[in-house]
């Protein structure tokens, strides 16, 4: 370590790069990981991920008691600071610490890659039936409200309201959305992250407003985030403040809500957030290759045709462990249907991700491996050297004793 600091800033700098802080943060991250893993049984992976690792603090369940711990943001943020200060800046730069410094560089690289991924990556999926084509994919869990002119043919301009703008509208909170191009205002309220659509018959007093004989009931979140079915109430107010109609938007509604305003038909839908890809994919055939004699798949793959913006077509195969990488998008074989014995047309579920730091882990694992191997070999050689010196010393001592004996 460097010299002992004397100034307050120096002491803070030293503390941020200290061993004790590193140990404390590692122990905390260990506890978060351990307790979080155990809590996944009850809450599911996504809820725990949000609660434990994408948070500033967490009330972790440790058996019958709850323990307040710093969350993943604080822990990992400070760990990066500690790594940079203690593991790269303040560490003694000697022959024996070269390997450790290299390993620290690799870890910093990996954590940097993780941050980039956390901030800029998009994950979703596209479901294609054989013969279908799509240039879009939808997120697993995120929702958006889309508005478009239902009279338009061909390419439709959509007006989008992202989830950040309405997911806080719980209870009676409401928000009005306006666009100059739209002849109406849209009021959204009563957002439910996981909702159930019920008929308002024989249920007593409904807990939410009834629209066309139905109402939404909020439910606790599912263990798997993508199973949550969001719902929200919407009211359209036409130009001049005339109330047109109330509706409810449900995440799995088959058709959008359609109404008239300004002499045109408009459609509104609550749907998983949709993203476009710079190319389209058409599923030619989905192939499930079973182990002989049993129904366990040893491989599944999708034969697709990728059509680029210039119109060129590229037949290719996407299979497990062999994704398609193109223009920063990565398309994986994720799932398929219908499941064994179920009727229906075959379809393939392709996971799509856009992750700018996709290749960083490869680089970081190489750097870390070099650093740790260096350190380990240096320690091993040092250990063997000491062993050898001790053995020589012992041999000398015993020969000295025998000489003394013979002299006597």
């Amino acid at each position: 370590m460097a010299k002992k600091p004397t100034t307050a800033l120096g002491k803070l700098f030293a503390a941020l790069g200290s061993f004790w802080l590193a140990i404390g943060l590692l122990v905390n991250l260990f506890l978060l990981t351990w307790l979080g893993t155990l809590e996944q049984v009850d809450k599911g992976i996504h809820a725990v991920q949000t609660e434990y690792f994408e948070s500033w603090r967490v009330l972790a369940k440790a058996g019958p008691i709850k323990v307040l711990l710093p969350g993943g943001y604080i822990t990992m943020g400070l760990l990066v600071v500690n790594l940079l200060i203690g593991g790269l800046v303040r560490i003694r730069k000697t022959k024996s610490t070269v390997g450790i410094i290299i390993a620290h560089v690799g870890i910093a690289l990996m954590m940097g890659g993780g941050l980039v991924e956390h901030m800029y990556s998009i994950y979703g999926r596209v479901i294609l039936y054989e013969g279908e084509e799509s240039a879009q994919f939808e997120e697993y869990a995120g929702y958006e409200v889309a508005i478009w002119n239902a009279d338009s043919l061909g390419g439709v301009e959509e007006f989008l309201i992202p989830a950040e703008d309405f997911q806080d509208l719980e209870g009676t909170k409401s928000r009005t959305f306006q666009r100059a191009e739209l002849p109406f205002d849209l009021i959204l309220k009563r957002y439910m992250n996981n909702a159930e659509l019920r008929e308002a018959v024989g249920v007593g007093v409904p807990t939410s407003p009834v629209v066309e004989g139905h109402f939404l009931v909020g439910k606790p979140d599912e263990k798997e985030e993508e199973k949550n079915l969001a719902g929200i109430y919407a009211t359209v107010v036409a130009e001049g403040g005339t109330k047109v109609i109330d509706s409810l938007l449900y995440g799995v509604a088959r058709h959008p809500w359609v109404f008239e305003a300004g002499g045109k038909k408009w459609a509104v839908a609550l749907r998983h957030t949709v993203h476009s890809m710079p190319f389209s994919l058409k599923l030619e055939k989905f192939i499930k290759d079973d182990h002989p004699g049993i129904t366990m798949a040893r491989a599944f793959s999708s034969d697709v045709v990728r059509t680029d913006p210039d119109g060129s077509e590229h037949p290719l195969r996407i299979e497990m462990n062999e994704p398609l990488r193109k223009d920063g998008y990565i398309i994986y074989q994720a799932s398929y249907g219908p499941q064994e014995g179920m009727p229906g047309r075959p379809y393939s579920v392709l996971a799509v991700s856009k992750n700018p730091s996709d290749r960083i882990p490869w680089l970081s694992v190489a750097v870390i491996a070099i650093g740790l191997t260096w350190t380990f070999l240096a320690k091993l050689l040092g250990f063997l050297g000491k062993q050898k010196r001790s053995a020589l010393k012992a041999a000398k001592a015993s020969s000295g004793t025998s000489e003394e004996k013979s002299a006597a």
């Binding site: 004790w20 893993t37 049984v41 462990n321 380990f376 250990f383 053995a391």
Partner: protein, 693 residues
């Protein structure tokens, strides 16, 4: 370096440790002695008159079958069936049966030969293991003089099968209600499953023959002259001419079709069992069409021919007839042998023509070699020798011989384990760590190898004894887990799920991460030894400081543990990140906080804590060792416990029934750490105060 273990211990402590070690090592042998059970003479119509000749056993065992997604020798199939039903791969026919062959030891192939060709006799073999007698109490089977865990014959169970079915259905209903089953209910279901499996084995060959009945029609007799006088006919022959019968059916007036069906009723009734078993029976017929991967069982051939009216290649009927010939030669060992040899040659040839069954002989060698059991024996004897060597003088010739013996036996054990693992790789064309069973073998082999390397460097004999102990523990665990896989999978070489169908990632991620597990467990094992010895030393010193030589020895030993932890960290970090890279390629995300990923991360974090605490001077040798002991629990959590949680994408690794063992281990580790802390406070800490004073 002249330092050796016992000089670090008091003579009393040395003897105590050695005695405990010897007891532990010899414990399995002492349990074997049990009173001989009373058995009665078997009185059935057809008894096997002489032992199965080697020729028959070799040929029968080498009959190719397709089972659980791969082509394998029948001997493997038989081995796992017997293991699953009996809990071990051998059955000893007692003298009390008064059979013409007397007392006999049956391996899986000989047992299956009896089950298939001398079923009446085999039904008296007590092979159905029942762990808790309460299962039998519930179905009304009461037998005197039986232990709580005992074995029973099919003949003994047969009168109670209806009741067994009722109890099993109750358990199924409870399971469907998502209620947890108790041990008795689980065992009831397992026993029912074993009965069904046994029934399928019995009918493997018995259903391959039929006859025309007492009064066949003239045209039927004309079509099948071989069936005159109700003579038995092989199934393949019947199926090969069935297209003629189909023509008769088509030509018949609709009103007359019932009569036509009656004409073949006798013929069909005898093959209905094979047809009914088509979903479950083992596939023994390689298709002539090489583009078809799925082999067929007799029921499927019946379905193809009689149900779907499809054309089946004549060669497949011929192979079926050869198998039927084995059944038709039952009753005579010599005739059956001839039929078996003939069928084996034809089937092996048909499989070879498809480029399959090329490693059948190697697979037989693998199972006959019983490498992991032999390795277990070597490790146990090595450990016994090590324990004995702790009680003799370090300078004696006997000690040198014992040490040589420990080295030799441990090395042989390791070679056997490595050979076994290597043969598995060759058989499966993939790296050695794709299933939990394989990770046990691999991790044990690596741990023993690292121990031997450490011993070579340190020559302290600690790592050597640890190699033997870890090797024995690992091989014992593998044999226990093989039973679990036999029950759940029916094979330890079954097909892998699609995501594991990549040799690159199996060879990189899984191999490195399991080497990290090995090192973590090895460090924990060595740390146990260090702490026990150090505490004994503390008791011996009675508050006095250790002499320089002893202090140096303990420091070197602790440094070795620290080195193993460094080794473990290297492989755990690289393996964990490679796992993320693999997940990125397979599932589209580097890290998903999946329990298995979290487990691997926990090992990395834990080892980083130890290393940083050591480098920062917060802990010394004792602290490193205590944390290394706890690290063993972290590895166990990551390796096994996360698979019990039922969460995440690593669903191919889930397994049942190990939670109790895990909790027992956590309890042991917790108790050990508490006692270590107490020992440290009582015997080591006061001395430090004295030193300070």
């Amino acid at each position: 370096m002249s330092s050796i273990i016992p000089s670090r211990l008091l003579p009393l402590g040395r003897c105590f440790v050695a005695a405990v070690a010897l007891l532990l090592a010899l414990a399995p042998g002492s349990v074997a002695a049990s009173p001989q059970r009373q058995v009665q003479k078997i009185e059935v119509d057809t008894l096997r008159q002489k032992p199965w000749p080697d020729e028959a056993v070799a040929a029968f065992g080498m009959l190719p079958v397709q089972d659980r997604g791969r082509v394998k020798p029948l001997s493997t199939f038989a081995g796992f069936r017997l293991l699953n039903i009996n809990g071990k791969r051998v059955y000893r026919v007692p003298e009390g049966f008064e059979l013409p062959t007397g007392k006999e030891k049956l391996d899986p192939v000989r047992w299956l030969l009896d089950v298939c060709l001398f079923p009446e006799q085999a039904r008296h073999y007590e092979v159905f293991v029942v762990d808790d007698r309460s299962v039998l109490d519930a179905i009304g089977l009461k037998m005197e003089g039986r232990k709580r865990r005992d074995r029973y014959s099919f003949a003994q169970l047969q009168p109670h099968l209806r009741k067994l079915e009722e109890e099993a259905q109750k358990a199924f209903a409870k399971r469907n209600r998502k209620e947890e089953l108790d041990q008795i209910e689980s065992q009831t279901i397992a026993l029912r499953e074993n009965i069904i499996q046994y029934d399928l084995l019995e009918s493997m060959f018995a259903t391959l023959q039929t006859s025309l009945g007492e009064s066949p029609s003239e045209r039927l007799l004309e079509l099948y002259p071989e069936g005159a006088d109700n003579a038995p006919m092989p199934l393949g022959l019947v199926l090969s001419r069935w297209h003629v019968v189909v023509e008769w059916m088509r030509a018949a007036e609709p009103s007359n079709q019932t009569e036509v069906l009656k004409e073949f009723a006798a013929l069909e009734s005898r093959i209905n069992v094979a047809y009914a078993n088509r979903q479950f029976a083992v596939a023994m017929i390689p298709p002539a069409d090489t583009s078809v991967e799925d082999w067929r069982n007799p029921g499927e051939l019946i379905d193809e021919t009689m149900g779907n009216l499809k054309t089946v290649d004549e060669s497949e009927y011929a192979l079926l007839d050869q198998l039927a010939g084995i059944w038709m030669a039952r009753g005579s060992v010599d005739e059956a042998t001839t039929a078996i040899v003939g069928a084996q040659e034809s089937l092996a040839e048909a499989a070879a023509a498809r480029g399959e069954f090329t490693k059948g002989a190697l697979e037989q060698t693998y199972y006959k070699g019983d490498f992991f059991y032999r390795a277990l024996l070597c490790f146990i004897f090595a450990f016994v020798l090590a324990a004995v060597s702790w009680m003799v003088s370090r300078t004696s010739t006997l000690d040198k011989r014992l040490n040589f013996g420990v080295w030799g036996l441990t090395s042989i054990g390791l070679i056997l384990a490595v050979v076994g693992v290597t043969i598995r790789c060759v058989l499966l064309n993939r790296p050695p760590v794709a299933t939990l069973y394989e990770t046990i073998l691999f991790i044990t082999s690596i741990a023993v190898l690292v121990c031997l390397l450490a011993e070579k460097m340190t020559k302290e004999r600690i790592a050597l004894a640890s190699a033997a102990a870890l090797g024995a523990a690992g091989m014992f665990l593998s044999m226990k887990y093989e039973l679990v896989e036999a029950a759940s999978q029916g094979d330890t070489m079954g097909g892998l799920v699609a995501v594991l169908n990549t040799n690159f990632w199996l060879a990189t991620h899984v191999t490195t991460v399991t080497m990290g597990y090995s090192a973590g467990l090895l460090a924990a094992a060595l740390a146990h030894v260090w702490i026990v010895m150090r505490l004994f030393r503390g008791v011996a010193d009675r508050g006095q400081a250790m002499d320089t030589e002893n202090a140096g020895w303990y420091r070197r030993f602790a440094r070795m543990i620290y080195g193993v932890l460094c080794f473990g960290l290297l492989f755990s970090v690289v393996g964990t990140i490679l796992g993320g890279v693999w997940a990125n390629d397979s599932w589209g995300r580097f890290w998903g906080w999946d329990p298995k990923e979290n487990g691997a991360l926990m090992i990395v974090l834990y080892e980083l804590v130890i290393l940083h605490a050591r480098m920062g001077g917060y802990i010394k040798d004792f602290g490193v060792c205590v944390l290394a002991v706890l690290g063993g629990a972290v590895v166990a959590f990551s390796w096994w416990h996360v698979n019990q949680l039922g969460v995440g994408l690593h669903s191919y690794g889930f397994t049942a029934g190990v939670l109790k063992t895990l909790w027992a281990y956590y309890g042991f580790v917790g108790g050990f750490v508490l006692l270590s802390g107490l020992g440290y406070t009582l015997f080591l800490r006061p001395r430090r105060k004295l030193e300070a004073a």
